[in-house]
């Protein structure tokens, strides 16, 4: 990772120790250059359960990113799901919207589209697991809809990608990740890492 100046570099007349002092650090922080822009919030490690809910999300991010590897005890299609919590209350009504496309290893294209789901998709568990990432937008902004976009590959070789959201202007402060193939469970090695994209 390069440190120091981006773009045009000044002609430096003093030697540089390479050590940041407090003033340097504060200057870099205010410019958004200190600490990078992907900030870890929480890592969830579901094991032996069929759902897990993240802690209350910080409100200083307009974009949340998750990166995950999940393993389950039984394969199934379209069963990795999530629900939002609005100000601490889980939304389970038929109010979610999404469009998902999946490219099967057999060469076919499958679709799932809805305007009245009681949860959102994050792909499936064929091959007993999946890996992927998703971006969530405007969760903490109660003047905007909460939306998301994701890209997943299951362990059987199928690619899933989709977009959707909760078209309600509310504050989403938690996400529940669920294996909807109940009573099947997440198993050892599952990780859902949650990051905030730093705003200035």
């Amino acid at each position: 990772m390069p440190y120091g100046y981006l773009g045009e570099q000044p002609i430096q007349s003093k030697s540089n120790s390479g050590v940041f002092n407090t003033v340097d650090a504060l200057d870099l922080q205010s410019d958004g250059e200190w600490g990078g822009s992907l900030e870890h919030i929480e890592t969830l490690t579901p094991n032996g359960v069929n759902n897990i809910t993240c802690s209350v999300l910080p409100t200083n991010y307009n974009i949340i990113k998750i990166v995950y590897t999940v393993n389950v005890d039984s394969p199934a299609s379209n069963v990795f799901r999530l629900n939002f919590f609005e100000s601490g209350v889980e939304e389970t009504g038929n109010v979610y919207h999404y469009a998902q496309l999946s490219l099967q290893k057999t060469g076919s294209l499958a679709q799932s589209n809805t305007t009245s789901s009681d949860d959102l998709y994050l792909g499936n568990f064929n091959g007993n697991g999946s890996n992927g990432h998703a971006y969530f937008y405007n969760l903490s902004d109660n003047t905007k809809y909460s939306t998301y976009a994701y890209h997943v590959t299951d362990l059987d070789g199928t690619v899933y990608f989709g977009s959707g959201g909760l078209l309600q202007k509310s504050t989403v402060d938690q996400i529940k990740f669920r294996n909807a193939n109940a009573p099947k469970i997440f198993t050892s090695g599952s990780e859902i890492k949650i990051y905030g994209i730093k705003e200035l």
Binding site: G36, G165, K198
Partner: protein, 174 residues
């Protein structure tokens, strides 16, 4: 320190025909992420893009190629669009008209400042057209010229850009 570094932030808060994200690419990084949040256009329309070279010129030569697949939440359909030797990328994403119906974009740009490689993009957009129509929009493309590129011009197919926040990040090599 994370390996994603903010390089530029641009806010659109009044009507403009296009946004120039110039002087964002350099030899410091090979890959860049552009996050656009709450892109607001005057019409329900596509987002287009062109590259900007290091002299500040928005290149309109017929060297843009792309392929797009999109699907709405309201019906089980998937539509392909593609183009070769176009004068711009014509389908980075889509959103509805007005302040409530926004597009949220995650765009990855590869090799823009490398004059030995073509420049590629991958775009994944969630576009709210209306209530209840949300679009999945996935697009890839290439600028088939070895010219080193310093930035991007983004503009709607119709109407104006009326709002949005653009963040450009460099992805560290190590």
């Amino acid at each position: 320190m994370s390996n994603i570094r903010l390089l530029k932030k641009t806010i659109v808060s009044s009507s403009v025909n296009s946004v120039n994200l110039d002087n964002i690419f350099s030899e410091d990084f090979d890959k860049y992420i552009i996050n656009i949040n709450n892109l607001h256009t005057s019409s329900a329309t596509y987002l287009h893009g062109r590259v900007i070279d290091f002299s500040g010129r928005s290149a309109n030569t017929a060297e843009y190629n792309y392929a797009t697949l999109y699907s709405p939440s309201t019906s089980t359909s998937a539509t392909e669009e593609r183009g070769v030797n176009k004068t711009e990328w014509e389908s980075l994403g889509y959103q509805g008209a007005g302040a409530d119906y926004n597009g949220m974009y995650n765009i990855t740009i590869s090799n823009p400042a490398d004059s030995t490689k073509y420049t590629f993009y991958q775009s994944h957009c969630v576009g709210v057209r209306s209530t209840p129509t949300v679009y999945l929009w996935k697009s890839v493309g290439m600028y088939s010229d070895f010219e080193a590129i310093g930035g991007l011009e983004l503009f709607p197919r119709a109407g104006t850009l009326d709002g949005g926040v653009f963040h450009v990040y460099g992805v560290g090599r190590n």
